[in-house]
């Protein structure tokens, strides 16, 4: 017993004062549209369809990169012949809607040569990040205070997200110092932290868990699968897809799996303590 105490005193506190100061070695792809020729090499290389191209009208082409489905495999980075795709070091990416995680570049396509010239980045219709942040704060106003009780629901995950959610409770990240506490029952929970893809066989259990949580129940979708179905896709016989296909989602934390810092950040966003952002 004395040895245990002595050793603990010697070790001291290992908790990191500012977990968000770190940079991710391996974040999300960022397309430099000014160098992009919309050749589609990245879209073909992407295993989850996180990069999509479209021809909305003759002479026009769009290229959309969505972090919702991105599994951070970096295939687009290596396959881009122009070197136009780089990797961001953001460690705390989150959003309030699936659309906010997407960025679309619009290109004019020359009729004769087929050469694509970047014209502008298309603005996603719907509320922006700060507007959504305000709405969420409105919903939780005065009810959550500075503590958050979280019930985690694995609705179909490969367990990768669970490993990183568990890591947020280790002594280095120490989630509880932020007032965030994992609870055993949805009836005690302010937040449902849901991983996916939601499977057919978990859909009913997820709905029941949602119904069991008291208002205002905030739902946080975790991981590429929770945000979009990820590599498992949406609408298959077994996988319904993103969590928002089954219950309303307030905060999205993309990544495969998201880092502990990203999960921590997403929960602080759900509390209204931090505001979601995609890039610095």
């Amino acid at each position: 017993m004395f040895r245990l105490i002595a050793k603990s005193l010697k070790t001291g506190s290992l908790t990191e004062a500012s977990p968000f100061a770190a940079r991710a070695s391996f974040g999300f792809p960022v397309v430099d549209f000014s160098r992009c020729t919309a050749c589609e090499a990245c879209a073909r290389a992407c295993p989850t369809g996180a990069i999509q191209t479209a021809m909305p009208e003759p002479g026009r082409k769009t290229l959309t990169v969505s972090y919702a489905a991105c599994i951070q495999c970096r295939a687009c980075v290596t396959e881009c012949p122009e070197g136009a795709v780089s990797v961001s070091g953001e460690i705390d990416v989150a959003s309030y809607s699936r659309d906010q995680l997407a960025r679309t570049g619009v290109f004019d396509v020359a009729r004769d040569t087929g050469h694509a010239t970047f014209t502008h980045v298309e603005v996603v219709p719907g509320p922006g990040l700060s507007e959504s942040a305000e709405r969420l704060r409105e919903r939780i106003r005065g009810r959550l205070g500075r503590s958050l009780h979280v019930r985690q629901v694995d609705a179909g995950s490969c367990n990768g997200c669970e490993l990183e959610i568990a890591a947020t409770t280790n002594p280095l990240y120490d989630m509880e110092r932020f007032g965030i506490h994992l609870v055993a029952s949805p009836r005690h929970a302010d937040v449902l932290l849901v991983t996916g893809p939601v499977t057919r066989n978990m859909e009913i259990a997820l709905r029941r868990t949602y119904d069991a949580a008291p208002d205002p129940r905030i739902v946080v979708a975790v991981g590429a699968c929770g945000c979009s179905g990820g590599i498992f896709g949406e609408g298959t016989y077994a996988a319904i897809g993103g969590v928002d296909r089954v219950v309303p989602v307030d905060v999205y934390i993309p990544g495969c799996p998201p880092r502990p810092q990203a999960i921590l950040n997403g929960l602080l966003v759900a509390m209204g303590v931090r505001e979601a952002r995609i890039s610095a």
Binding site: I71, E162, L163, L172, T199, I231
Partner: protein, 523 residues
């Protein structure tokens, strides 16, 4: 005598019937009626162990596959038998070889082939709201089919009778941060009389999904079969593709793969040891284990740009190198880790309050483990000396010196000690590999297209146990069937036998000592 002749003689088949399928994999075509007899001979005469059993659809008929490991001969034996569409049934071997129990029921659930004389021909994978007659892995079943929910009979659990005897249902949504599954305990007070499982809550249609993805993208799906075994499953899939394509993986890639696989083993074993401490409320070592695990995971992030080793394996080789700087970082980390890990284990086993909880808790006897064909850590903790790294060497394991730790207790402590000793062996393996990293390219180039109408097995001893993948192509060289076997699928019935006789409060620690994957099982 050649391996082929030995096998043919033991099975009493004509010489020449047993042929080489791929390197390390013998093939035998048989009649379905002969399968039970062959199973007896392989398991008793050749000390074979059934590693996977599955079906595939080949044109107008089905094939039923039995794949055995023959460790003494260092080869797999793959027996395939046709099943005709108008007589969709095959003889079951589950009554005499319980390891086949869930496998055969899964074939029934997903292919609609009936295991004749199966002792318990109930659904294993399908839940009660899935209609009869919809077989998801048949070719005429579209991957995006919308299947209506029907009212069916809930999974038949054993009834409980007697005074003071009752059932405790748990899950699928659990109290902790773990995967979903339903456990039904029959209890008399605290002692558990029996445990029954109902899984497949996280069935994601993964095998069907492989059929829709280009094979190059399949590697990322393989990483998500079980998130804690990203390297293990990606590697098993890559092995199958490489055997299919006849590609030889360069020596450096083989070495880096060993580094990745051993790191995966270490971070999982350390985490599990900490979780066992957590489940008996011994928080100081639990926290120490978490810190050690986080240290490894961060190191992985620095070395390879990925905390959980995703995106590291490529068909034909690896996508990340161990650079001289990474090598130095790793070699500097290992001694510190080794010291702290040894302290952790001492802290645990020197504490009477801890050993009290783990000794003789959750015993899986050697006989039960043999009967059920248990694999991996759980097998080695019950006295079964089996490890693909030694018995069917893959990647660079052939030339490495290491031991396969085996314990006899079959209890929580034995499973903990197997992990502890495996970590020591991993350190030994890592040092050997890092001392002599061959200087070759990181990957051999894969052909643009896979050979048509071919198939191959891929296998890996991952941290939890053996992962096997069987990949087959169609006439256009596209992947037409991937059968994934995670060790959890074989081992879950072992948990159900280890729990009875213990008290309910010990279930979490017994469960954690197996730490089986739900996602790997359900796919």
């Amino acid at each position: 005598m050649t391996t082929m002749a030995t096998v043919a003689a033991a099975l009493g088949t004509a010489e020449g019937a047993v042929r080489v399928g791929q390197v390390g994999e013998l093939r035998l075509d048989a009649d379905a009626a002969a399968l039970p007899g062959l199973a007896d001979q392989v398991m008793r005469g050749l000390d074979g162990r059934l590693m996977t059993l599955f079906a595939s659809e080949e044109g107008d008929r089905f094939l039923l596959h039995h794949v055995y490991s023959l460790p003494a001969l260092r080869t797999f034996l793959h027996i395939a038998a046709p099943v005709e569409r108008d007589r969709p049934a095959f003889p079951s071997i589950a009554a005499s070889h319980p390891v086949a129990n869930w496998f055969e029921r899964e074939v029934m659930d997903f292919f609609g082939l009936e295991p004749v004389d199966h002792p318990n021909p109930e659904r294993v994978a399908l839940h009660e709201d899935w209609p009869d007659g919809a077989w998801a892995l048949r070719k005429d079943f579209p991957a995006d089919a919308v299947v209506p929910r029907v009212t069916g009979e809930f999974h038949p659990f054993r009834p409980v009778t007697g005074e003071g005897v009752f059932q405790v249902p748990v899950g699928p949504v659990h109290a902790g941060v773990i995967e979903p599954g339903h456990f039904r305990f029959g209890v008399a007070g605290e002692p558990v009389l029996y445990l029954q499982l109902r899984l497949f809550y996280v069935h994601k249609g993964t095998e069907k999904r492989f059929e829709r993805l280009p094979w190059r993208h399949g590697i990322f799906l393989a990483e998500s079969i079980s998130g804690d075994t990203a390297v293990g499953h990606a590697l098993a899939y890559a092995h199958a593709l490489e055997r299919l394509a006849g590609v030889t993986v360069p020596a450096r890639a083989r070495a880096v793969r060993v580094v990745l696989l051993e790191l995966e083993r270490m971070y999982n074993h350390v985490a599990d040891i900490g979780a066992i401490a957590t489940d008996v409320a011994f928080t100081i070592p639990a926290s120490r284990a978490q810190v050690l695990r986080e240290g490894l995971v961060r190191l992985q992030d620095r070395l390879f740009g990925t905390r959980l080793l995703r995106g590291t394996i490529a068909p034909g080789g690896v996508r990340r190198d161990v650079t001289p700087e990474s090598r130095d970082l790793l070699l500097a980390h290992l001694p510190v880790f080794e010291k702290n890990f040894a302290d952790l284990i001492t802290l645990l086993i020197d504490s009477g309050t801890f050993t009290d909880r783990v000794d003789t808790t959750g015993i899986l006897t050697n006989q039960a483990a043999r009967d059920l064909g248990i694999v991996g850590i759980a097998a080695r903790a019950s006295g079964i000396d089996s490890d693909f790294r030694r018995d069917h060497p893959h990647d660079a394991y052939e030339g490495l010196r290491f031991e396969v730790p085996v314990e006899d207790g079959g209890d929580v402590r034995a499973r903990l000690m197997v992990r502890a000793r495996e970590v020591e062996q991993s350190l030994l393996i890592l040092r050997q590999v890092l001392d002599a990293l061959p200087d070759t390219p990181l990957a051999a180039s894969m052909p643009a297209e896979l050979p048509a109408r071919a198939s191959a097995l891929g296998w890996v001893e991952a941290w939890r146990g053996p992962c096997t993948h069987w990949v087959a192509t169609n006439e256009r060289g596209e992947v037409t069937r991937v059968k994934i076997t995670d060790p959890s699928f074989i081992n879950w019935p072992g948990l159900a036998l280890a729990v009875p006789g213990n008290i309910i409060p010990d279930f979490p620690v017994i469960n954690k000592s197996f730490n089986l994957s739900y996602s790997g099982n359900d796919r």
